[in-house]
Amino acid sequence: MGVNCVISVPMEENKSGQYVITKLQKKIENLGAKKAGHFSVDCETYQSQIPIEGQVKVINNVHDTEYPASTFSFVENGPHLVADNTLDMLFAKMDSFYAPKKNFKIEAKGVRYELNDFLIKVGSVIIGQNTSVKGILLQIDYTPCILYNDSWGIITELLHILGINPNITNFFKSRLEKKESSVDYTDCAQQYLELFNSVRKSMTVNQQPPGMSSSPVMIQGRM
């Protein structure tokens, strides 16, 4: 487990999501990376049926194929929990208290690449039953290092080579601001959660006023 950085890759106008993904994959393969299976990160959202302290609480459960036995559970604006997979069964039994939001399941899945010390994952974001690509996420793991500040330079370099503007998440920013902050296994899930939330938000924004850009985050790509 090394430092991991998840960023959102901007969509190109008038081009399908699959086109952007293929283009990115080709670039990664040209660097000499080798395919190493597939990955998937999904997030299920549960809502409290009875208001707690006057407000509806939301819990996000994130599963990562990199940690197959674990479930990462995040209470919105609250603590988080790393537990065994059996937590999902517990939630299924507690549906009178916490019910899953329908068509709210969001998932990023794609191909995993290994490039020497780097682990690169290119994933397309899918919401609910809809198979259309809602966004593209790129995860870069620099496995030998566990300090954010020390590995940020080499990750930025790789992103520049791939021609992607390093538009990092707020979580990653907060980590970089702290000196000598090391990696925790929930970091990856937290970054995914932040990006998932922004994708969802952009979806709702897109649905309400028509004619807005389809890309979730506006980033100027440098090719």
Binding site: A69, S70, V82, D84, N85, T86
Partner: protein, 647 residues
């Protein structure tokens, strides 16, 4: 001074209070009204019983009855009148009787005889006798019944219920009653097995005892010992017969006695299985389940798991590739009971492995059994301590895998689950290497008599790791000995000799070469020791230097040799040693006769000439075939010879 006694007046008078009838809620007492004179009189008259003769008992009775009649009477004098009337009736009846009795025609009055004749004694005796008789009868009946059962028990070896009890308690069979039948369980589920096949049997009371005896008397030679049991068991047809797991290694070139398995699948054999006791019947059926489970698991793993070379599962046979040229065959061989006489291969069956092939490996079969039992025991015993909420059977590392977010590699480490097939393949590889080394060592030990070879097999070892230690020494002296160590694992075979370690890649020739080399070294060492003992001088020495090629080790390179001179330097001997060949001993020729007129000194006679080989076999050493001993004797002879010549 005594005080005058003054009498005190005590007045006794009736209380002016009437008995209280009740209290009201405000505390007011309601007392009963006193009876008037007439009421009091009638109450007292009520108490008079005109029929009584003034006895106390009767009075008491009347007292008890009086308040009842007093309460019920509506008119105060009614009861008195009633009683008077009944008294009058009785008196008039008495008067009538007396009148009739006086006449003596219809009635007579006589005095009553007070002594009652005691007729009860014989009656008592009769009833007692009767009772005793019936009790005796009951006891007698009981004795008869007990005697009968005792006789029955003696005639049959055991009672059905007793045997059923023993079956549960002593032999530990699981039995339960379903309806009118008794069903038992043969499966290994309680021991930790997860094999789903049905393994039930039915227990019955044997109906015809004579039939059993007849059956045994017809074929006394083949039948198992006398079956005298009241229990009869019936197992499902698929568990009938005898089954065993056949495991064998096959090599193509057949150098190691692994001959080719000609027929691909073992045939199902049919044989007449004689009457067997229920214990052997059940044991056999349970063994069938066990073998089936082994084979089922092996075949499932062979199909589902990925191996570099695909496994073959045909019928009751699994073929796995150990190496390119070595294969492991595991088969399930069955012998079914044959009831009819027509059209089937028949053999006189004894419950032994009568069709075992020469390549059959007991070791591998035993290993398979042991592996499955290990799996059973692992599933049956959970690692402790175990939280209630945790997965059943998971190790502590596996339980922590979720909360500590283990990755894929860490998870695999946390669940070290190696399959049965993988384990047996590892063990088979080890077995193959072990057999290879043993056979080479046996061959070499047979070939070499002079330095003797002793092989020690390490007693402490596992099914996939073992050690073999080899000692090379002379039969007459143990001062020089050479030691070799073979470390056999599943994939690798290492040979440690002195400071060098050879990795032998399942090459029999290489093992042989290493051993030959060591024998050669040993010979040279023992000669050097002999030289030191006889005070000869070593002029030059060189041990054998092999030249190894990449693929295989062929004999080449420089031979080992020792060049020695006698103490007076007049005789020089050369001993050369080469693996796989006999040691050659050569003596340097010296010039004989006079060299020339100018050279007259004796020492010039010993100028070196050519070497000539000596045949040590010509020496008369019938008692010892040891090369070092012969050399020692030769050196002694030569030394003596030079001394006599010189002086």
């Amino acid at each position: 001074m005594a005080l005058p006694i003054q009498s005190t007046e005590v007045s006794i008078e009736a209380l002016q209070e009437y008995p209280i009838q009740s209290f009201q809620y405000d505390g007011k007492e309601i007392s009963t009204e006193p009876l008037s004179m007439s009421e009091n009189l009638s109450r007292l008259a009520e108490r008079i019983d005109f029929t009584s003769d003034g006895g106390e008992n009767v009075n008491e009775k009347n007292k008890e009855e009086a308040p009842a009649t007093f309460q019920t009477s509506s008119w105060p004098w009614e009861s008195v009148r009633n009683k008077l009337r009944s008294a009058l009736t009785e008196t008039s009846v008495l008067l009538d009787i007396l009148t009739i009795a006086r006449d003596r025609r219809y009635m007579s009055i006589e005095s009553i005889n007070n002594e009652v004749p005691d007729t009860r004694i014989p009656l008592n005796l009769i009833s007692k006798k009767k009772g005793l008789n019936s009790a005796a009868q009951i006891i007698q009946d009981g004795i008869d019944r007990m005697r009968k059962t005792l006789q029955e028990q003696q005639s049959r070896s055991m009672d059905f219920h007793q045997e059923l009890y023993n079956m549960r308690q002593r032999d530990g069979w699981k039995l339960r009653k379903v309806g009118n039948t008794i069903i038992g369980d043969l499966s290994y589920k309680s021991a930790g097995s997860r094999y789903t096949a049905q393994g039930t049997f039915e227990v019955k009371k044997s109906e015809d005892e004579d039939a059993t005896h007849e059956g045994t008397s017809q074929s006394p030679g083949r039948a198992p010992p006398q079956i005298n049991s009241s229990i009869q068991v019936s197992v499902p047809t698929e568990l009938e017969g005898f089954v065993y797991i056949y495991a064998s290694l096959i090599k193509d070139d057949g150098k190691l006695n692994f001959s080719d398995l000609s027929s691909c699948s073992p045939p199902i054999q049919y044989a007449r299985i004689g009457k067997q006791s229920w214990q052997t019947h059940l044991d056999n059926a349970q063994y069938v389940i066990f073998c089936k489970e082994i084979f089922h698991q092996l075949s499932r793993e062979a199909i589902t798991m990925k191996f570099p070379l695909p496994n073959v599962v045909v019928g009751d046979q699994v073929l796995c590739h150990l190496y390119d040229d070595v294969k492991l065959i595991i088969a399930m061989c069955r012998t079914l009971p044959d009831e009819d006489d027509l059209g089937r291969v028949r053999s006189n069956f004894t419950p032994t492995r009568h069709f075992v092939r020469p390549t059959y490996s007991y070791v591998l079969e035993h290993n398979l059994h042991q592996l499955l039992r290990e799996i059973h025991s692992r599933t049956a015993t959970l690692p402790l301590p175990h939280p209630i909420t945790g997965h059943i059977g998971a190790t502590k590392r596996r339980r922590l895998a979720g909360p500590y977010a283990f990755g894929k590699i860490e998870l695999e480490e946390a669940m070290p689950s190696i399959s049965l097939l993988q384990q047996i393949i590892i063990q088979s590889k080890h077995y193959y290497l072990h057999t290879l080394v043993t056979s080479v060592l046996d061959d070499i030990a047979k070939e070499h008599i002079d330095p003797q070879i002793i092989v020690h097999h390490g007693a402490i070892g596992t099914a996939h790791q073992s050690m073999i230690r080899v000692f090379i020494f002379n039969s007459f002296s143990e001062t020089t000995r050479c030691c070799l160590l073979f470390k056999i694992e599943s994939d690798i075979l290492k040979c440690v000799s002195g400071n060098s370690v050879f990795v032998v890649n399942r090459d029999a020739q290489m093992i042989r070469n290493i051993l030959e080399e060591q024998i050669c070294h040993h010979k040279l060492n023992s000669i050097t020791l002999a030289i030191r003992l006889t005070n000869w001088n070593i002029l030059s020495q060189q041990s054998y230097i092999p030249v190894r090629f990449h693929d295989d080790m062929k004999f080449g390179g420089k031979p080992g040799y020792v060049l020695v001179a006698s103490p007076n330097r007049r005789r020089v001997l050369l001993v050369t040693c080469y693996p796989k060949q006999k040691c050659t001993v050569s003596l340097q020729r010296t010039s004989t006769g006079t060299l020339s007129d100018l050279i007259t000194e004796e020492k010039w006679h010993d100028l070196s000439g050519n070497f000539e080989e000596i045949d040590l076999n010509c020496m008369d050493f019938t008692h010892s075939s040891c090369f070092a001993t012969r050399m020692e004797a030769l050196m002694c002879c030569l030394e003596k010879e030079t001394q006599t010549n010189f002086y």
